[in-house]
Each structure stands twice: as C-alpha cells, then as structure tokens.
C-alpha cells in the first residue's frame, strides 16, 4: 500500500501538469499506485469539464465561515460542560467559584450565548535580567536582588551611579515578557520605562568620555536621558535594528515591535536626531517620526504626545487606531491572542481612554458597548471577536 506522502506528491504533480496544460495521463499511468480502473477514474475526474463543474457546485454549497463558527460554538459548549463539573466540585468542597456560571445556569440563559470567562488580569511589574555571564534572574514583586553594581526591590532595577568602568563594556539585557512592564535606571542616571514584550541591551557602566550607547532590541521604551552636560558632553544613542536615535539630554519614546512594519519615535522634550544609514533628521518636541521599514522612508509629523506615552502612566489612549492595532496592544499587556471571526471589523476604529489596570473583560465590554464589536468570547488565553 502506498504511503500518504506518495499520494500527496502525486496530487501535487498532477495539479502542476494540469495548470501547465500538459498531459497528466502519463504521470497517472506510470505512477503504479493504482489499478487501471482507478487510474481512469483519476484522469477523468481531474480533467473533465463536467467533473470539475460538479465539484465546484458542491464547493459552493459549503459555507466555510459559518461552519467554522459552528465548530467554535461546539468547543465552547464542551468547555462549558467542563467548567460546570468544576463548579459542581467547588460547591461540594464549599468553595464558591466565580458565580458567573451559577447565575446563568440557574436563570436559564441559553448555553450558546454563555461566554467562558476566566478573569484575564492586567499585566504587572515583571522582567528577566540577563547578566554578562548569561545567567537569567526573574525580577518581580516581592523578590529582592542585590549585587555589587545593581539592586532591585522586584519592582524596579537601579544600577549604581559613578561606577564608570574604564575597561571594555560589559552588557546586561532586560527582557519584559508579554503581561509585564518595568523601570530601570542606568548607571549614568538615565531612566528607562519598558513596555510589555520588549528587550533592551545596555552596558553595566558607561565608559567616561565615550558615546553612551544602548540598544532597544525590540519593543517599546520611554527614555528620560541624563543630560550630556553631566557626562563631559557624552552623547547618548539608542540603537535599533532599523534606526538610531542620537540624544543630547531629553525625553522621548521609541516603539519598535517586531510585528509592526514601522518604528515610531516621539520626542517629548529636548532634541534628538533619528537616523538611518547616512541620513539624519531632527525632531522637535511633540513631533513623531515614522520609519517605514520596507521602504526605509521616514515621515515626521506633529502628534498628541499624550497618546504616545500614556502607556507609561498606566493608561491606554486609543485615538484613531484600528481594532487590529488595538488588539496588538492588548495582547501584549494581557498576554492573550486575538482571533477575528470576520475580517471586516479589523479596520474599525475606536477612540477611547482606558485604564490599564483593569481586567480584560472590562475593556472588551467597553469596546462592545461602543458598537465596535458585536460579541467577544474569552477562551482561556484566546479571545474571539466578531
């Protein structure tokens, strides 16, 4: 008996020769996978207009999207049964579960409409520090970490100042997972706020008199740079795979997520230049540069700075953002994935200011109340929107 890979390979080569208008009878004849009757069947059914039309008519009667929704509903229903058992067990042991399930089952809401709700909590202070020897330290609330040049109370990380090393630079990395955010003070006094899903590389100590360089490997960071005048005129540079920002002492935000086609740099105060290979452009306060990574083009415009940096103050400020962009932000902070059941809503726009410190469900119900989405379902860490 032929194995399945041979069947698939045969299908691919038959499709290729059909598309190329070459005779595919020979391929079938010589394949020796089938007897003559089956060979004739295959040749006829792939090539004959009437067979093709018959098949196309059948395909037209299959509504893939509607059937997909049906499958999703059935998955939720079976999950519901599972949680119901869990809740029943909870009653017996005297523990009260969320109450959500009881309310709806006892008051007879239809099962189909019932979302499976697990409280998706907002992100919190959380980071992984990678030391020069490659070892990783998890930083989170309640965990203190102290070494000779840095200390952390779990909620922020501070490098000792003045420890200017004249030797070769030693680098640390700070990685913020999805669902985390962090604050770090570098040894020169520069303050950096890091958003969810970000990574930064920096020297443990800066070499006196040389350009201070850090790298935003990916993600979003807000920099409050300690002025050059305090460091014998040493400039500060933020490198990224796609651009570099040169600084003279200033506050600005860089957003360079890997799933984004653009890198955004917003200047709050002071003066910076944004540069690609060989080109440099100045930004004035309240200006934002957008680098299109594909075309290597930078466009500069004046923006409402508040929208760009509100994340740092614990607020989502969505203005004129599409639902697709909003879900990107939410998926980083809540560590969830979104699935759109119908593509048409992806480009709908939502304007609103929301507190980051609330459960995801509250945010989704706000967006729903605005009529941007008709329905949402939370299924563990996957959110289905329609």
């Amino acid at each position: 008996m032929p194995n399945f890979k041979q069947i698939i390979n045969l299908s691919k080569s038959l499709a290729a020769s059909f598309l190329d208008k070459k005779k595919n009878t020979e391929i079938v004849e010589q394949s020796q996978l089938f007897n003559d009757e089956d060979k004739n069947y295959i040749i006829k059914n792939i090539n004959d207009d009437s067979s093709i039309e018959k098949r196309q008519n059948l395909v037209k009667q299959i509504d893939k999207e509607a059937d997909w929704i049906n499958v999703v509903k059935r998955i939720e229903l079976s999950n519901y049964k599972f949680y119901w058992r869990l809740s029943a067990a909870a009653i017996i042991s005297g523990v009260l579960l969320t109450g959500y399930f009881f309310k709806d089952t006892f008051f007879g809401t239809s099962l189909e409409k019932m979302p499976i709700v697990l409280n998706v909590k907002p992100g919190k202070e959380k980071a992984i520090l990678t030391l020069e020897d490659g070892s990783n330290i998890t930083l989170e609330k309640g965990k203190n970490y102290v070494s000779n040049n840095l200390n952390s109370n779990g909620e922020k990380l501070v490098y000792n100042s003045g420890a200017n090393s004249k030797s070769k630079n030693v680098f640390n990395y700070l990685t913020i997972p999805r669902g985390g955010q962090y604050f770090v003070k570098l040894s020169d006094g520069t303050k950096v706020w890091l958003n969810s899903g970000s990574k930064i590389k920096y020297p443990v100590a800066f070499v006196e008199g040389e350009i201070r360089e850090v790298e935003l490997v990916y993600g979003e960071a807000y920099f409050d740079v300690s002025p050059s005048t305090d460091h014998k005129g040493s400039k500060f540079k933020v490198l990224n795979q796609n651009q570099q920002v040169e600084v003279l002492g200033t506050e600005f935000n860089i957003k360079a997520y890997r799933d984004d086609d653009n890198v955004y740099t917003t200047l709050v105060e002071g003066k910076v230049t944004v540069g690609l290979e060989g080109k440099k452009q100045y930004l004035k306060p309240s200006q934002r540069s957008v680098l299109d990574i594909d075309n290597q083009m930078i466009t500069i415009s004046t923006v409402d700075v508040y929208n760009e940096i509100s994340w740092k103050q614990g607020i989502f400020s969505f203005e004129d953002l599409t639902l697709r962009d909003i879900t990107k932000v939410l998926s980083r902070w809540y560590d969830v994935d979104f699935v759109f059941l119908n593509k048409s809503i992806e480009n709908k726009k939502f304007v609103g200011v929301l507190d980051k410190n609330q459960n995801l469900e509250d945010i989704l119900s706000t967006i729903k109340n605005f009529g941007i989405i008709r329905e949402y379902r939370i299924n563990e860490r996957t959110i289905v929107l329609k």
């Binding site: 008996m1 032929p2 399945f4 890979k5 041979q6 069947i7 698939i8 390979n9 045969l10 299908s11 691919k12 080569s13 038959l14 499709a15 290729a16 020769s17 059909f18 598309l19 190329d20 208008k21 391929i27 010589q30 394949s31 020796q32 996978l33 089938f34 007897n35 089956d38 069947y41 295959i42 059914n45 792939i46 207009d49 093709i52 098949r55 196309q56 059948l58 395909v59 009667q61 299959i62 893939k64 059937d67 997909w68 049906n70 499958v71 059935r74 998955i75 079976s78 994935d337 699935v339 299924n379 996957t382 289905v384």
Partner: protein
Amino acid sequence: MTIKEYKSLFDELYVSLCLLSNKYLEDLDVAKDVVQDVFLKIWEDKIEFENINNTKAYLYTSVKNKSLDYLKSKRYKSTDFLSARKLEKVETESFFLREVVVIEASSIVEKAINELPDKCAAIIRLSLKEYTVSEIADELGVSINTVKTQKKIAYKRLRPLLEEYYFLIFFVLNIFK
C-alpha cells in the same frame, strides 16, 4: 495547537474533507457534520501533528472512517439501503486513495487560480477548458493582446508553484519504476 493554527488547518482542509465524506455518504449536510465532528475531536484531544502530510493523513483517514461508520449505523440503514456489494467497494483502500488524489489535486488547482487577480483567473479558467486565445477574447469581451498579456502574468505567478511541484513528478515516477 493554538486556536490560530487550528483555524488555518480548518481553512485549508475543511472543504476538501467535506468533499471526501460526501463521496461516501452522498449527502453533503451529513458530510459537513462528520467533518466538524472530526475537527472537534482533534481540538479536544489536543492532538499535535508533526508535519502537514501527517496532518492530512490523519484527517482524511478519520473522515473516511467516520463516514463508513455512519453508513453502517442503524440510523442510516433504517432510511437508506446500501447494497452489500457497494459497501464492499467503498470500503476498499483504493476507493479512498483515488478520491484523495482527485480532491487534493483539484484543490491545489483551485487555490492557485483563486490567488490570481480576477481578470487573470477568468482567462486561465477558460484557457484550461481548451478555449483558444481568440475565443477567450470573445467570451470576455477583451482584446486578444489583453488575453496574451494576462496569460503571461498568470504563468509568471504560477511559475514557482509549478517548478516546485514538477520536481515531484520525477520523484513520483522514479520511485515506482
């Protein structure tokens, strides 16, 4: 499997699997139910697949088995009559595999054509039905030159797929010679 991967698997194979089940059941609505049952099961059992060939082997085989189960079930027997001879025939491995070849090959063709720009696709569909260039031009109300250029564009786009799959032809032939 994440729900994203699950959805893309559904997108890729749902229609083909319905066609296979329908071949056994000759009832498209029941066929859809059978295929949805199979999809539900791979989600609930958290089945992870090594590669796309394994996935296809598993799904096509499951749909075949479920369809045959249905044919042998009491519910079906009470409403339809399937001769012992016919049942024997549809239970053979070759009945299954030849259908998979037809469905897979035609699904590749359909997907490849559907990815072309609309005008291109319409021209290629007629061309594959053995229409000549001037017949296509007449049928679609465009100039002969347009047909020629669009055909060129179409084949330029199809080239990578054709080259990849042509390679398999030698593979298919050589192995069994």
